[in-house]
Symmetry: C2
Subunit: 207 residues, 2 copies
C-alpha cells in the first residue's frame, strides 16, 4: 500500500515529466527523475514497481506514456475539482493560483460568510456558505481547501464533511483531525517558519 | 538531536499553549497537549524530555512557563524576521498573513522584479530585487520565502543564499535542494492536492 510520501514522490515525478515534455524529451531514466525529485534512482524504481510500472534498462521510460500512467495512478482523470472555504488573503491567492490549472486541477468556487466577498460572476465565483451543499452535490466535489480563521476551522470542517467532502487541505493554524473515511492534511505556515528558525539557530549555535 | 517532526510538534504545543493562555488557563497536562497536537501523551513527554522539560505528575505544566521554554527552544527570541521573494498571488497573501504577526514572526519586506509591484511606502514594503542584499545585511535576516514561478526558483534560491539567507520556505512548484549549511523546505500546493485526490480515490475504490 502506498503511503503519503510515496504519492508525493509520484506527483514530483509527474511534474518533472511535464517539464520534460515541454522540452520535447521522449525518454527519461530513473536517474533523471531521481534528480528532479531529490531522491535516489533506486527509490524511483521501487516506487514505480509498487504500481507495476517497468522501464527498460537501455531505453528508460517513455515520457508521454509514463506521465499518463502516473496521472491514472494519481486519479486525476477521475477527480480534479475542489472548493476553497474562506476568501481572505490565503483563500483568494489559492482561488487564483495558476499552478492548479497547469496541473489539471480546477477550483470550482470559493465560499465565504462575508457578503462583501461574494462575487457569483467572477471566475471562479465566490458564493455564500449556504450554497456549499448544493454545489458539492451537483458537481460531485470531494475536495476542499480550508483557509478560515482558527476558531472557525473545526466547525467548517464538520460542515464540509457532512456535505460530502472526503479530503481537506487545511491552512487554518490549528491541527484538524479527520474522522474515519476522510483525509485531512494540515499546512501550518507559522509552524513551517518556526521550523526553519529552529534549524537555522541550531546550525548557528553549532559553530 | 531533534528532527523536523519533533520541532513541528513543539510548534503545535506552543500554539495550543498560546490559545490556553487566552482562556486564562494556568496549568496544562500532557494529555491536553497531545489532543491539541494530534499525538499521544507519551509522545509529548518524550519530546519534552529531549529538551529537559519536566512536568509534575499531579500539577502538570505551568502554561506561561512552558510557553516561554518552547519559544526559547524554537529560537524565536533570537530570530524572527523574514522576507518574501515574488509578490504574485501567493507572495502577496504571505506578506499580509495575520498569523505570522500573531506568532511573533515579522515580514521585513517583499521583493519582486516587476516595477509595477514596487511599493516602498507600504507595510511591509515591496522593493526591487536589487535591494535584497542590502536589506538582508543591515537587518541580519536569515529567512526567506520563495513564491516565484518554477523557472525562476533555482536562480532566486542561489541569489538569496549568496546574500546570506540560511533557511528557505519554497512555494515554487519545483523541488529545490539546499547546499550544505542551509535548509530548504518545499511546500508544493499542486502536490498536496494530488495527494488528497489519490487517497480519496483509493478509499472510493476500496468500497
Amino acid at each position: 500500500m502506498a503511503n503519503r510520501s510515496c504519492i508525493i514522490r509520484l506527483s514530483r515525478y509527474k511534474n518533472a515529466l511535464n517539464r520534460l515534455k515541454g522540452l520535447n524529451f521522449v525518454r527519461v531514466f530513473s536517474d533523471n527523475l531521481a534528480d528532479a525529485a531529490g531522491v535516489t534512482a533506486a527509490q524511483v524504481r521501487k516506487d514505480f514497481s509498487l504500481f507495476g510500472i517497468t522501464g527498460n534498462r537501455r531505453g528508460g521510460y517513455k515520457v508521454e506514456e509514463l506521465a499518463d500512467q502516473l496521472n491514472r495512478i494519481l486519479g486525476k482523470n477521475q477527480l480534479h475539482e475542489f472548493i476553497v472555504i474562506g476568501v481572505g488573503n490565503i483563500g483568494r491567492a489559492l482561488l487564483h493560483y495558476p499552478g492548479f490549472e497547469r496541473s489539471g486541477i480546477d477550483v470550482a468556487a470559493g465560499f465565504d460568510i462575508d457578503p462583501a466577498k461574494y462575487n457569483p460572476q467572477s471566475q471562479p465565483p465566490v458564493l455564500p456558505l449556504e450554497q456549499l451543499g448544493e454545489l458539492i452535490k451537483t458537481r460531485d466535489i470531494k475536495l476542499a481547501i480550508l483557509a478560515v480563521p482558527d476558531y472557525a476551522a473545526q466547525q467548517v470542517l464538520e460542515l464540509v464533511l457532512s456535505a460530502g467532502i472526503k479530503g481537506v487541505l487545511n491552512f487554518a493554524p490549528i491541527c484538524l483531525k479527520a474522522p474515519p473515511g476522510c483525509i485531512v492534511n494540515n499546512i501550518n505556515l507559522e509552524t513551517e517558519i518556526e521550523n526553519l528558525i529552529y534549524f537555522i539557530n541550531a546550525a548557528e549555535n553549532r559553530k
